[in-house]
């Protein structure tokens, strides 16, 4: 690429990437519709426009290879949308390969890959061949219909094609005349479009040249539909909208059928319009049409309502919000201290009021920024759709992907981190899960395997489920392999519950596949998946039934950024415990702690609560004169498990910004990160679920836990 500035290159890459993803989504949708025998012309048109945009973009940035590819693809797509080429499975294949090539070209341009891209030229040749292999189509003349030649003259080739093929299919042609206010024309047209889409296809929008007034515009919208006029009228009609049908002329005589110029034989169905200059009549000057298709203009504008933001800028903003939170806390402490100062009441009250205002605004800003960072999981799910398609082809299995809950939103960083784990699990599901066709038929299952991706919000968490109707996990084999590999002691094996056995999947290097699969390599890599999920503060669970299927459930916190935490002190050191893990905090009477099977426990409302003295766990020597004997227990819980952390002081509760610990500390267990408390003091944030697992895992009946994580 020619030397454009670095920033411009970055923008080109990100914009190209976005368009390619959109392309991919549309092609997948197109394929999906084709499977039910429908070819959606709007999708074909969208794909055409995306490629067209990419062509322009490539030209602008001097990306020659991408430009050449786009040029050829555009020709093929143009032929497709004009009906010159039929959209078949093989043509679709060619298009998909084009997208892969786009991806590879981008990677090469970015310097990520060093492919020579030799097959690009071969592909371009093949592309050109497919595009011109068009069988001649029988043309029908639109002159059979009572459409004003003036109108036909302003239709583009594409619109004409759409009109012709719709009429050929026996659809009816309607004209909807609406008056729209210029101020709200965007929303009104969008609303109209969405109401019209299920009923038929909008061919074109034509200004009539007669506005009701300076604030409005009158449009004639040509629609083809199989519905009756009454239905259309009820859906689309209104006080400012008038719907009429443009019927086909009855048995036109050969003479007039041939005629293409205006003549008396043309009965002007459109004669409800007074023939005025500029109106739709066979006048020499057709009404001025916007240079860009009205539809395109509208949709381009709505595209511009989103803004692409570098996530590092958002991180900076979050940092600043965090700093402001610290200032707010300091402010409140100051207000407190002023109590000591006599005669300061008025000042204190004023300060308090300001503090409240500050707090409110800060909370709003905080949630505002957090919202900005949220992106719908659908982005990721769509990408997985392509992966599934590719992998299932490679594996020779037919797999259908069902996606629900794509609108569920999650912090952008989490989405990025989820990409690899989810792809891994798709690989597993396709490789190990879904059986080959014969096996499925034998089992009485549908030939096409199904993988379901579902996401939904549950409180302050997001749950993602990956379910397949495949072979399920063979627990016996898994257990056996674990024993063979020395992960489990043969004796303890019998003590393992189902859940513990299934969790063996997460042990590195364990795989029940006898040969290394070319897709997943040795082992299934689920240990890496589990680590990645844990890093995000989430948990992963597996349910499986032999021969029925497997479901993996991932639970994640919605955002990594600001959370509420309980501040505690242990031998003079300060720690923070996320409130989301804390069930309660109580005073510990010295006599309440007892020993049970070598561990310290206490009785809490009738149940036994294991205790953990943090000063012992962390290896602290008690600092300074201490032990007034008054201590506290912070009870944390995950699932049904409980643990009480023994601390010296409960300092309070406050919002903290968790900053992750650096790479050099990744061997340290039990911490979610660190946070600044104010005036440069730092406190480590406990990872309650991890500590819970570490401490109670060893005492569970599943000794496997100890062996895996010990």
């Amino acid at each position: 690429m020619e030397g454009s500035g670095d920033k411009a290159r970055e923008e080109f890459f990100s914009e190209a990437q976005e368009i390619i993803e959109l392309l991919s989504r549309d092609l997948l949708a197109l394929e999906g519709r084709m499977a039910s025998g429908v070819i959606d012309p709007e999708l074909v048109n969208n794909v055409f426009r995306s490629v067209h945009t990419l062509k322009g973009l490539s030209g602008l940035f001097g990306a020659h290879r991408m430009g050449a590819l786009s040029h050829e693809l555009e020709s093929l797509l143009d032929a497709l949308r004009l009906g010159k080429v039929d959209l078949s499975a093989s043509v679709l294949d060619v298009l998909f390969r084009g997208i892969d090539l786009y991806g590879r070209i981008l990677a090469v341009e970015k310097g990520v890959r060093t492919d020579p891209l030799a097959d690009l030229d071969d592909y371009l040749v093949e592309l050109a061949r497919v595009g011109t292999k068009a069988p001649p189509k029988a043309e029908t003349t639109l002159a059979d219909y009572e459409i004003d030649p003036g109108v036909l003259a302003v239709l583009t080739e594409y619109e004409e094609h759409r009109l012709r093929s719709s009429l050929q299919q026996g659809l009816r042609l309607y004209r909807l005349r609406v008056v729209l206010k210029l101020m709200t024309i965007d929303e009104e047209l969008e609303s109209l479009k969405s109401r019209a889409k299920p009923l038929g296809e909008i061919i074109t929008y034509l200004p009539t040249g007669q506005g009701a007034d300076a604030d409005s515009i009158e449009l004639d919208i040509l629609i083809v539909s199989s519905a009756a006029i009454d239905l259309l009228r009820s859906e689309l009609g209104g006080p400012t909208a008038e719907l009429t049908e443009l019927p086909r002329r009855a048995a036109a005589s050969p003479a007039s059928a041939k005629a293409n110029e205006p003549s008396g034989a043309l009965s002007l169905v459109l004669d409800s319009i007074p023939p005025e200059p500029g109106a739709i009549t066979p006048a020499p000057a057709p009404p001025p049409k916007p240079e860009v298709y009205a539809a395109d203009a509208i949709s381009l504008r709505s595209l511009a309502q989103t803004v692409r933001v570098d996530i590092r800028k958002l991180d900076r903003l979050m940092n600043i919000v965090g700093e402001l939170a610290i200032v707010r806390n300091a402010l409140s402490r100051l207000t407190e201290r002023l109590r000591e100062v006599a005669g300061s009441r008025e000042l204190r009250v004023e300060l308090h009021r300001l503090h409240r205002g500050f707090d409110r605004n800060l909370a709003d800003m905080q949630s505002g920024i957090l919202e900005v960072r949220m992106v719908p999981l659908g982005q990721l799910f769509d990408k997985l759709g392509r992966v599934v398609r590719q992998l299932s082809r490679e594996a020779g299995k037919e797999v259908g992907l069902v996606i629900t809950g794509g609108e569920t939103e999650v912090d952008k960083l989490i989405v990025e981190e989820l990409s690899d784990p989810l792809m891994h699990m798709m690989r597993n599901a396709i490789d190990h899960g879904i059986e080959p066709r014969e096996a499925r038929i034998e089992r009485g299952k549908p030939q096409v395997g199904t993988i379901a991706l579902n996401a939904f919000q549950k409180g302050s968490h997001v749950v993602i489920e990956i379910e397949d109707d495949g072979a399920g996990i063979d627990e016996k084999k898994l257990l056996q392999r674990a024993i063979e590999r020395g992960v489990i002691d043969g004796q303890h094996a019998s003590e393992l519950g189902r859940r513990e056995i299934l969790n063996l999947v997460f042990v590195p290097g364990l795989s029940t596949r006898d040969e290394a699969s070319e897709l997943s390599g040795r082992g299934v890599g689920m240990d890496v998946v589990k680590t990645n999920i844990a890093r995000l503060g989430g948990v992963i669970d597996i349910h499986s039934e032999l021969a029925i299927g497997t479901r993996v459930t991932i639970t994640l916190p919605i955002t990594l950024a600001i959370i509420s935490a309980l501040i505690v002190q242990v031998t003079g050191r300060t720690f923070a415990i996320p409130v989301s893990s804390v069930l309660e905090a109580i005073r510990l009477e010295p006599s309440a702690a007892q020993r049970l099977e070598g561990r310290e426990v206490m009785t809490l409302r009738g149940s036994t609560l294991p205790l953990c003295r943090l000063e012992e766990l962390f290896g602290f020597v008690p600092r300074g004169a201490q032990q007034s004997g008054r201590q506290f227990v912070v009870v944390v819980g995950v699932g049904t498990r409980r643990l009480g952390f023994v601390v010296d002081e409960l300092v309070g509760q406050q919002d903290v910004v968790i900053k992750p610990l650096g790479r050099s500390l990744r061997s340290v267990r039990g911490f979610a990160g660190a946070t600044e408390l104010g005036d440069q003091r730092v406190a480590l944030v406990l990872d309650a679920p991890a500590l819970l697992e570490e401490i109670t895992g060893a005492t569970d009946s599943s000794r496997a836990g100890a062996m895996m994580y010990g």
Binding site: R573, L661, S667, G673
Partner: protein, 166 residues
Amino acid sequence: MADLVRRSGAAIARRLQSTDRGPLSEYLAFTLANDTYAVPIGIVREILKPPPLAEVPRAPREVLGVASVRGMLITVIDLRLRLRMSAAEPTRKSRILLVEGAEEELIGLLVDEVRQVYRLAEREIEPAADILGGQLADHVLGVGRPDGELVLLIDLRAVIDQLGSI
């Protein structure tokens, strides 16, 4: 006037000649256990007085803790311990050298004292083995002798990159 120009021109030329050591690189020198070490200045983002630290339980010995610098979290490492020297109590002169580690981690290296910036030409750096002989840690790149003082140049990059993989 012309005489003045000629004379100062000559002086400059003389100075240039005597200091024509080739391209010079700048090194920041600091003290560790009474020895002087140096690193290329470009690698050091900042020099700080040690901020309040939070201990990290169960971390490797050389990790002194984490701290906050203008809202950014830094990991503080005792360079003495990292280079397998004995530990020592920080003094008033102790400083933190802030460098960037892997994955954008900010690492603060605690040193006994920060000295000065030396300019050394490449050919003035001698291979460490020649001077010090015997076995040396991989991180020593060479030895310089600015103003007659013995300065050990170390490969801080290598030292940092190995953190977390112990």
